[in-house]
């Protein structure tokens, strides 16, 4: 039994959400003028900034692919992102792993064959952390890529879900993640419903996996609506300035 009561018998979570509710999402696109595309997302208290450069000429020759564009992902967690003061590791393996996970996720949706021998750089910076950093990063990367005008077959939407006391939970915050709740992060393509990434922290009973995946997928679809709305608003604004 975990010491923290993750869901009260009244059905409220520590922050007052019900089990199947997402946190508040705030998005902005085009926040950086230097980058080709950029976006900012807040999922609850998790805040992430994305900048996309490219397609452009690769910096290193070694990175050149002859039939398609190469995607680089740099995922970073700011040292000021959490309350605890941590000694920063130079090349944190965990960060590299997440970077490559995100890279693989986007390789499936970006139409890279349009830009052979070029490079697309995605920089992801977590500014504040409160659980669910990976899925926030994927969501914001989608926004930034669209903002940069890079052709993609679909959105990539991500969401996490957990399982506690026979009850699946959507979109875990830091407190819930750290209370030994199994955390599943799912990224999917909303049009086809295909799952492009699935990661599970700590153990989850096999019988419970399916309901948790279903819930996370449901969360992804909700995210899609939010992201879509954000893109449409910004496009409308853009169209207005172009037309005027």
């Amino acid at each position: 039994m975990s010491r923290v009561e993750i869901i009260t018998p009244e059905g409220l979570r520590v922050d007052g959400r019900r089990p199947l509710e997402l946190r508040r999402v705030l998005t902005r696109t085009g926040v950086l003028s230097q980058a080709d595309g950029s976006a900012y997302i807040e999922q609850g208290n998790t805040k992430c900034l994305a900048a996309v450069y490219g397609p452009r000429e690769p910096v290193k020759r070694a990175g050149v692919l002859h039939d398609r564009a190469n995607i680089n992902v740099e995922y970073n967690v700011a040292s000021f992102s959490s309350g605890e003061r941590k000694q920063k590791l130079r090349r944190d393996r965990r960060l590299l792993e997440i970077s490559s996970m995100i890279k693989q996720t986007f390789e499936t949706v970006i139409i890279t064959t349009t830009f052979p021998r070029s490079e697309i750089d995605i920089y992801l910076q977590i500014l504040q952390i409160d659980g669910g950093a990976v899925h926030a990063a994927i969501n914001v990367a989608t926004l930034a890529l669209i903002d940069a005008g890079i052709p993609m077959t679909d959105y990539v939407c991500a969401c996490s879900a957990g399982f506690v006391n026979d009850q699946p939970l959507l979109d875990l915050n830091y407190l819930e993640e750290s209370a030994d709740v199994p955390t599943l992060t799912v990224a999917l393509l909303p049009k086809s419903g295909k799952i492009t990434m699935l990661g599970l922290e700590s153990r989850l009973h096999v019988d419970k996996l399916e309901p948790v995946i279903t819930l996370a997928a449901d969360g992804c679809m909700q995210m899609k609506d939010t992201l879509d709305e954000a893109i449409r608003t910004s496009t409308r604004k853009l169209a207005k300035t172009v037309l005027n």
Binding site: T8, G16, R23, R24, N45, D180, R203, H205
Partner: protein, 1020 residues
């Protein structure tokens, strides 16, 4: 649904980390009143299913006639939980603020409140005010968290009052708080508010409630104002002292014999030692089980363990501190002796300076009759004393209106506080259990006193039972996957008569290659009890099934325990099987563990199985199996004995109960037959092999069982005593001990060997569960069984540890593919094994108390003369064991003031210190010696010549005693067994059966005549 307005709360955890949390405010938090239209329309608007309406009927009391709900604050729930648990309190709104505060203050109380909330009949409603948009209160600048919470509570009450105006006219929500400041503010805000006392006294239908109101912070104006304990130090001072080494901390355990003598196990000079705490002042209001901070006394004040038994009657008379004197006197006596003889070692002695954690729990006990003043009516409240059943607890002062009603009843009392100017703690009445001596009441007391959870299983737990209920069957399509089908085998079970929870079954058959196949089949409980559901949680909480003489407290619901899991004959059952291939000389060739389906061919009792063994003509498959098993068991046993396994003894008795009345009609000692040993042997085999397998797969997280080697010092006293009989006991290894026990025979008295085995058992350490990752491998050793590794696998119906081992083994053999992380979490398993050890110990003690209870019932109205052996000698008496009944009693070497002191204490004057004993205590040889002259004098007057010069009582002396039961009531807290010496004759101590019987009759007569004086049976 979601308010998009997010609040950020900043709290400081520890000293440095700033925690930023989101706090969502919602507008879908409903009031819980079914007729509320506002909430109903809100629910429709949010497309919510209508929330469970809890607060169905606003309450009224005799004085407050307008309908209302009550909102208690945190302190009310915390201090007055006993009152709130009373059935008269319904329709209560519990605020989230209150619950959270409560959770931080005390988990047990929080859980009790949670239970109240879960009970639909009580209609306690949790209102999540912290997440309600209209009730959230932000902490103001310079406002303390407490004040902020009080304000939040008042805001919620105000909200309710406005909110309810539309649906229930004239309905109000009443704040109940004992905080005067809070009350003042509430009045200023025009909120209805009462203190607990005010409110409870308005409930005229329940006058008993007023007794249950705890007195908090009311300094007791004591009649003994001159008396004062030293002040307890503040927490900061304690922690500073602990850090600097001036104090040390430990858990206080009070001696069972003397409630003014406590001890703490603590580190002294880098060595674990027992530290004594002697006397009321030095104990300083600490009670048994408290975690206390202590300070050493100067070496000159160190004491020698007193070694006397204080009787309740003596405690009775300690109004003026007589007992302190008794204890002190004895201590001084010993000091005197010590000065003369070689000084016995003084023990480090300390005093309590502060209390770190209280161990106050509700206590069962009785009201002290002498403290009750007759009032005629029962209107006025009076202060009475309460004695807990637990002898280690001091008497508790309670205020009650029903004192006269409570005399002779078992009641529960909770301690509220212990002011420094009060000699005794103050408490309040919780509830009545029933009459003293009533079987059901006393059994409940046994369960309560040993913290055995015995409430019926909750509907939540029962919801996890198979839906088919009794009709559940093994279905080939569902259950056969991954299981071996053993239904064709001739499996049988052997259990005590009347056993309904059959855990284990056995089979044995010859193999074509000449070897034997042996199977142990254990009920597959883990199939039904899935990890972490409510049923699993409940089983984990209970830990074990508790067996009392007349009752069984199950760990699992009986549908599982006695039916679906129980390996009954001629039905298909799921099992977990261990199959060995063995040579004829009982060496194991191979082993296989598998989940299986079996169909037991016969459920036998030990006697039936024995009959089949003895029947040379029978050759049906089951009997042949048993015969093969028996042959193997004998060889296995020989192997174990060779390795050094111990055969110990304990005087176990079984009561024959009269069917309907449950009165014990006869006592018999449990005897062991071949078949008992047979089953035991194979269970041990299964446990050992499963332990090996599980440990191999989970070296860090197996639940195993170990039995540590007892330290040599445990045996010192026994070795010294048996040396006089020409016996030596070598406890260096279990093998040596087993051998020396076999040789410990006194030809003239065969019982001595058993007696030595019984006493050896008491020198042993407790066997305990542990998690394999927490100890190194050599420490896994099981001393008693002489095996390097051991666990419990064979009784999953009645032990939770076995269930965990089943789960581990299922994973180890690849049957269970996925498993929860808790199963392999070292820390959690350690916690679990600690809980299981505790429950196991409590269950054992509960069983023992139950046997004691029934022993007393058996001896009720009987006075028997029996043979006995001395098993312990102390300064003012000695313990004897009566082999025939397997009971123990204490014989006081001092002349008892009256033969049967049922009413003695109320009438005898304060002769606190009893007439001097004819015995003198010889500390050197640990014996009691009576002067020859006295003995001779007694002999002559009796017309019976005493042969010996002096009477000597030492270990293993044989004597004759009279056993009878002293009824509860008056001084005695419970009816207890009284043992009196008959033979050897010592003047002033020994009694004759005839005299006793006569005295009893006299007493009855006197009681009939209303006489009060009880005379000693004078010897003429």
């Amino acid at each position: 649904m979601l308010k998009t307005k997010a609040f950020v709360r900043k709290t400081k955890r520890g000293a440095v980390v700033k925690v930023v949390k989101e706090h969502y405010l919602r507008d879908d938090i409903y009031c819980g009143v079914p007729s509320c239209r506002t909430c109903l329309s809100a629910q429709q608007h949010h497309h919510h299913a209508p929330q469970a309406a809890v607060l169905t009927s606003p309450r009224t009391t005799t004085k407050f006639t307008s309908p209302h709900f009550i909102v208690p604050d945190t302190n009310v729930l915390y201090h007055q939980i006993d009152v709130m648990e009373h059935a008269a309190f319904t329709d209560v709104i519990v605020l989230q603020t209150v619950l959270e505060e409560l959770k931080h203050r005390s988990t047990p109380v929080y859980q009790r409140v949670r239970q109240l909330i879960a009970d639909p009949a009580r209609r306690f409603y949790v209102f999540c005010n912290e997440h309600n948009r209209d009730c959230y209160v932000e902490r103001a600048v310079e406002e303390s968290p407490n004040d902020r919470n009080d304000r939040a509570i008042r805001t919620a009450v105000a909200w309710y009052n406005v909110h309810l105006k539309d649906c229930i006219p004239a309905a109000a929500t009443v704040l109940v708080t004992d905080d005067a400041e809070n009350r003042r503010k509430a009045v200023a805000e025009k909120l209805p508010v009462y203190s607990v006392k005010e409110y409870v006294s308005s409930m005229a239908d329940h006058p008993e409630l007023i007794d249950m109101v705890a007195t908090v912070n009311e300094e007791n104006i004591d009649e003994e104002e001159k008396f004062a304990y030293p002040e307890h130090l503040a927490n900061s001072q304690i922690s500073a002292g602990l850090k600097s080494g001036a104090f040390f901390q430990g858990k206080l355990s009070i001696s069972a014999n003397n409630f003014l003598e406590g001890s703490v196990f603590a580190e002294v000079d880098k060595e674990e030692k027992t530290v004594m705490v002697v006397g009321r002042e030095h104990l300083n209001r600490a009670i048994h089980g408290d975690i206390v901070a202590l300070q050493f006394l100067p070496r000159s004040e160190w004491k020698v363990p007193v070694g006397v038994i204080l009787e309740e009657e003596q405690m009775e008379k300690d109004e003026d501190g007589a007992v302190d004197d008794v204890a002190a006197k004895h201590a001084m006596d010993v000091d005197g002796v010590a000065a003369a003889a070689a000084a016995p070692e003084k023990v480090p002695t300390a005093k309590v300076v502060g209390i770190i954690k209280r161990n106050w729990r509700p206590f069962c006990g009785t009201i002290e009759k002498a403290s009750v003043k007759s009032t005629g009516g029962m209107s006025s409240q009076q202060s009475v004393f309460f004695w807990a059943m637990d002898k280690k607890i001091p008497k508790i002062r309670i205020r009650t209106r029903q004192a006269e009603d409570l005399v002779g009843r078992r009641i529960i009392v909770a301690i509220d506080g212990w002011a420094k100017n009060s000699r005794y703690p103050t408490g309040h009445f919780v509830r009545t259990l029933g009459d003293v001596g009533d079987r059901a009441t006393e059994t409940e007391v046994v369960l309560l006193e040993h913290d055995v959870p015995f409430a019926p299983f909750s509907p939540q737990v029962l919801s996890h039972l198979p839906v088919e209920g009794e009709d559940w069957i093994v279905r080939d399509d569902l259950h056969l996957a991954g299981r071996t089908d053993f239904r064709h085998l001739d499996v049988c079970s052997i259990d005590p008569p009347g056993c309904t929870d059959i855990d284990d079954a056995l089979h044995c058959r010859p193999l074509p290659n000449g070897n034997l196949e042996v199977g142990v089949h254990i009920a597959d409980v883990s199939h039904f009890v899935r990890p972490d559901n409510a049923m699993d949680m409940e089983a984990r909480r209970r830990g074990t099934t508790v067996y009392l003489v007349n009752k069984r407290i199950d760990m699992l619901p009986s549908l599982l325990g006695t039916n679906l899991c129980s390996l009954r004959s001629n039905v298909d059952r799921l099992a977990f099987s261990c199959i060995w291939e063995m040579k004829r000389d009982a060496t194991v060739v191979s082993v296989n563990y598998t989940k299986s389906v079996i169909r037991s061919k016969a459920s036998l009792t030990y006697d039936e199985a024995q009959a089949r063994l003895d029947d040379t003509t029978a050759n049906d498959p089951v009997t042949t199996g048993i015969k093969l098993l028996n042959a193997l068991a004998k060889k296995l046993r020989a192997q174990r004995m060779e390795a050094g396994a111990l055969t110990l003894a304990s005087p176990e008795v079984r009561f024959k109960l009269e069917e309907d009345q449950q009165d014990p009609v006869d006592v018999e000692l449990k005897e062991l037959k071949d078949t008992n040993a047979l089953v035991e042997e194979f269970m041990l085999l299964a446990n050992i092999w499963v332990a090996k397998k599980v440990y191999q797969h989970f070296p860090e997280s197996s639940i195993l069982r170990r039995h540590p080697q007892p330290p040599p010092s445990n045996f010192e006293a026994l070795q010294k005593a048996v040396a006089e009989l020409g016996i030596s006991i070598d406890a260096s290894t279990s093998r040596a001990l087993a051998d020396s026990l076999d040789k410990a025979i006194v030809p003239t008295d065969p019982y001595i060997n058993k007696l030595i085995r019984i006493l050896t058992t008491r020198c042993m350490m407790q066997a305990v569960y542990f998690c394999s990752g927490t100890l190194s491998e050599p420490d896994f050793w099981h001393y008693g069984l002489a095996t390097p590794i051991y666990t419990h696998f064979t009784s999953p119906i009645r032990r939770y540890s076995d269930l965990v081992v089943h789960r581990l083994l299922a994973v180890a053999i690849g049957y269970e593919k996925g498993y929860v992380s808790e199963l392999v979490d070292k820390v959690k398993l350690k916690e679990l094994s600690d809980v299981l050890n505790y429950r196991h110990r409590q269950a054992q003690q509960a069983s023992r108390s139950s046997v004691e209870l029934f022993t007393n019932l058996f001896f009720k109205d009987k006075t028997l003369q029996e043979e006995a052996y001395v098993i312990r000698v102390m300064k003012n008496g000695f313990s004897v064991l009566i082999p025939k009944f397997g009971i123990e009693g204490y014989v006081y070497a001092e002349a008892a003031p009256t033969p049967l002191n049922t009413k003695a204490s109320t009438t005898t004057t304060t002769t606190a210190i009893q007439p001097s004993s004819p015995f003198t205590y010889d500390a050197d040889q640990n014996r009691l010696v009576a002067r020859a002259a006295a003995a001779a004098a007694a002999g002559t007057t009796n017309g019976k010549e005493e042969e010996e010069e002096q009477v000597e009582i030492k270990l293993f002396s044989k004597c004759t005693v009279i056993v009878c039961v002293e009824e509860a009531g008056g001084a005695a807290r419970r009816s207890k067994l009284v043992v009196r010496l008959v033979e050897p004759w010592v003047h002033g101590v020994s009694v004759r059966l005839e005299d006793l019987v006569r005295a009893q009759k006299e007493q009855e007569k006197e009681a009939g005549e209303g006489g009060k004086v009880v005379k000693k049976p004078k010897r003429k």
